[in-house]
Symmetry: C2
Subunit: 244 residues, 2 copies
DNA sequence: CGGATCTTTGATCACAGTCAAAAAGCGTGG
DNA sequence: CCACGCTTTTTGACTGTGATCAAAGATCCG
């Protein structure tokens, strides 16, 4: 079975708008890589000559402070890329640790090869830059929310994002990664996360184990966004207000 | 006197690597706009059909929470662009307030015109995307530091950034914008900012009015970066370790 | 000089971090 | 299938930091 039939490459935003022939070549250049949950993809400081696209699962990107504290940079999901900053900025070492947050499938490319593709394939280049730009504005949002939102609100926002990213049914879905991972991604301690979850019960969010139930999206939405400066410009919220 | 002789356009990163003839055309397309300190450039929600480049001074980008709290998104300085997100994402309204943090000179372009330039001038497009990408990774850093660094450390980091951005002499320089503006940009209240400044005295940073003196950059550097996860990958710090 | 804004200082409060321990969940092997 | 050990999550008590409210000093500018 060929790669192109195995993976729904049309779900990878990097390949968006790329004609079938080019896409086939891009897929042929990829090595498929499987990762089990908790397996390392690369370590902070490793020499870096590979670029990855997440085809399935989620990869946790994090790094440590000199004191040994662990900070989450990003959780990359389907369509996200790994090592692109390094590739574009010509870094020779990976700038973070990458660990599978669940079982993963990745497309793996030599950085050099991908660089060449980017030079000749402008659509590909544009897609990558779009992705980077989106990630940037996401980071801006996160920073903003760090200031404006309290712990339970940030969690609420995250849960709504999950629903929209994975097309989960808000009434009943399962957390795709562990609670500590989520806590870290939200910049808080597991204890705070746990306590904040119980506060969310007051707005109709029940979490038992890995199972989440948002009784009323609108109630949660209002609770979360009441103090958020992004408001009208928030894609996440507009999705909720006029559901697909 | 022509625009090209009046402004050191080679300092605008957007025009980097662009041949003189193209650069001249780009400058000819610009309207020059002067802003006095505290003057509004645009308001959040205004219809948006203009793109700006900061040629001089600094523009404070901020927006409000529903509760009326003011959140700083960015302080744009020489070479930075305003309205580029809106332009690229085809937004029809500005997503923030823009106010001059000091007296400013701006290059002003109709969004449509600039869009056309970007389509034909690939270097220009690349420069813009580089700028956006840099801003994104800056936002990521900020978010990270929000978690890892305490108030005085964040201020210290900011002061070092100032020195490197404006080529200030650490021993003696003047804050380019008001303390409340800086506080807001760092995501803290003016009171906290003020108190944190006094703590910085312990590591040899004296601030009197708008005048700052960093007695020993290395001491400050160590104090700031002791708990920072970016460490080796921090451009700011590498500048200090091997000064120009 | 006087009114405005900006900054500092003081007192208090709330929230999230920390440390410690209990509880729940998970996988392994008997 | 249960028992065991390990990890993850939760709960509890406490602490530290920064936000908040209020008021006093500075500073700026007309």
């Amino acid at each position: 079975m060929s790669i192109s039939t195995t993976y729904p490459t049309d779900k990878l935003s990097l390949f968006f708008d790329i004609p079938a022939t080019d896409r086939t070549r891009l897929l042929a250049g990829a090595k498929i890589r499987y990762l089990k949950k908790n397996e390392h993809l690369f370590h902070h400081g490793d020499p870096c000559s590979t670029f990855f696209i997440v085809a399935e699962g989620a990869v946790h990107l994090h790094r440590q402070t000199p004191e040994g504290r662990d900070i989450t940079l990003h959780i990359a999901i389907i369509g996200d890329t790994l090592g692109e900053e390094e590739m574009l900025a010509n870094k020779v070492l990976y700038q973070a640790d990458a660990v599978a947050a669940e079982n993963c499938t990745l497309l793996e490319y030599p950085t050099e090869w991908m660089r060449q593709q980017l030079q000749t394939n402008h659509t590909l280049a544009l897609n990558l830059l779009t992705a980077i730009s989106k990630r940037g504005s996401r980071a801006l949002m996160d920073r903003e929310q760090m200031v404006t939102l309290k712990t339970p609100q940030r969690i609420g926002c995250f849960l709504m994002q999950l629903c929209s990213m994975y097309q989960f049914d808000p009434k009943k879905f399962t957390l795709p990664y562990s609670k500590s991972t989520i806590a870290s991604k939200l910049g808080m301690e597991p204890e705070s996360f746990s306590r904040a979850l119980s506060k969310l019960k007051e707005v109709g969010v029940t979490v038992e184990g890995m199972h989440v139930c948002i009784h009323d999206l609108n109630v949660l939405n209002q609770y979360v966004c009441a103090t958020c400066s992004i408001s009208e410009d928030c894609e996440n919220c507009s999705n909720i207000k006029r559901p697909a």
